[in-house]
């Protein structure tokens, strides 16, 4: 495998030494481009108290292409589908090499605080979020409690 680009090394180093509050990311033992991630559900969101596991992969031409990220822990969110795929513009057409692993994970955390049912990936979830927001939030809390909490 080709040597790891210095930018990836620098980012990894900084993630380890100055971790972002509420987010941990660590490279896998076998592949320095593959990160295990835990994002804490933001306060005052239906995901509060949850620990969400994600995976993040840096493609060959990173940072010219966006990291590939998905949720491993089940989550009830209009912009995340049942396979954990995330609808977030900076992971697609709005990617820029000025963004980093940490900014991507912060944006994902922000998406948990601000679901956007008008731009859905999980259509049934988005539908409910639009017609009956309080029920949708109840579901999100229930999923968080059931799948993402220590109990």
């Amino acid at each position: 495998m080709a040597a790891l680009p210095r930018r990836i090394i620098k980012e990894t180093q900084r993630l380890m030494q100055e971790p972002v509050p509420g987010i941990s990311a660590v490279p896998s033992e076998t592949n320095a481009r593959y990160f295990h991630v835990i994002v804490t559900g933001p306060e005052d969101s239906p995901f509060e108290g949850g620990l969400f596991k994600l995976e993040l992969f840096l493609p060959e031409d990173y940072p010219m292409s966006a990291p590939k990220v998905r949720f491993i822990t089940k989550i009830y969110h209009p912009n995340i589908d049942r396979l954990g795929r995330i609808c977030l513009d900076i992971l697609k057409d709005k990617w820029s090499p000025a963004l980093q692993i940490r900014t991507v994970l912060l944006s994902i955390q922000a998406l948990l605080s601000a679901p956007n049912p008008d731009d859905p990936l999980a259509n049934d979830v988005a539908e409910l979020w639009k017609v009956n927001e309080s029920e949708a939030i109840r579901n999100a809390k229930e999923w968080t409690r059931r799948y993402a909490m220590d109990n």
Partner: protein, 328 residues
Amino acid sequence: MSAVVDERVSDEIEALEAILMDDVVIKRVGDVPDIIETVVHPSTGDDTDQQFVCVTLEVKLTPEYPDTSPDVVLRNPRGLDDALLATIHSQIRNKLNDCLGQPVVFELIELIRENLTERNLPSGQCVICLFGFTAGDVFIKTQCYHHFHSHCLATHLISGLRNYQEEYEILPNWQQMNVSPYQQSCPVCRTIVTCDVESLRKAPPPQESITAAPFCVTDELKVTIADLQHKMSALLAQQRAKGGVVSTGYTGPPPLTITTPADNQNNVVATNGPPAAKPEPAAPRQNGNASNSNSSPGSPNGKSGYRGPYRGFNRRGKPGRRGRGNAR
């Protein structure tokens, strides 16, 4: 207070206005000059594109000036670090002492300019490679005042064009007609820029990327990493045990098996659970736009990035664009 201005001061002001013209501001109290303000740049001839640093010099005259020293303040430093500012400040103090009794503003401007010229490098990092700018590096300031190593910006522009072309080619003909042409954009602020990629790509890679010490994992860091890895796998095992993991096929890196509609069905939780149990169409929803393009963390062997069919053509804000969130 008398409005009589010392001749040494009025001569100095006259000279400053004659030479610096619009670049100097004289604030007066009544007829008496009070504050002299000017922005100092490095000397780069007429080439303002090559000026990466500047600072505003503010000189407040005392009633006894030049027989007593004026109060000198440096404001709005751009691209200067604290160490250099401290050096300039101490040189200014010496100069003020040496020049007591004679006008000093031109001397101050010259002193600052020499320092700026010597350190005319952008501060901070190139956001593309995360290395700084050092003497010998070839770099560029965009129209939007952002700095990059020429080498790094070339890489960004070349891959931007390549991605554009790849996406263009997979479009049906009738859609190709409606696509706007490729535009270069600044990685930081997305302003449209125009750069000569051919000349940029001739620049060498940034010095620090070659000379920087290799990453060395300290024992302390090793423990942190091992701890985190342990915590992650424990969490995963725990969540999997209670059915809280998205894909039944998930085994960690190598990360993804191909997800089939069958997998998708398997993920539907027990019937009286939250609404995931609602009836689902047999196949995952993939409506041909970019929404899913990010779903697949790819091969662990570092093969090239995802180039599959979901890389929808939405980069330029064509209809059907999705996505949200904040870039910064």
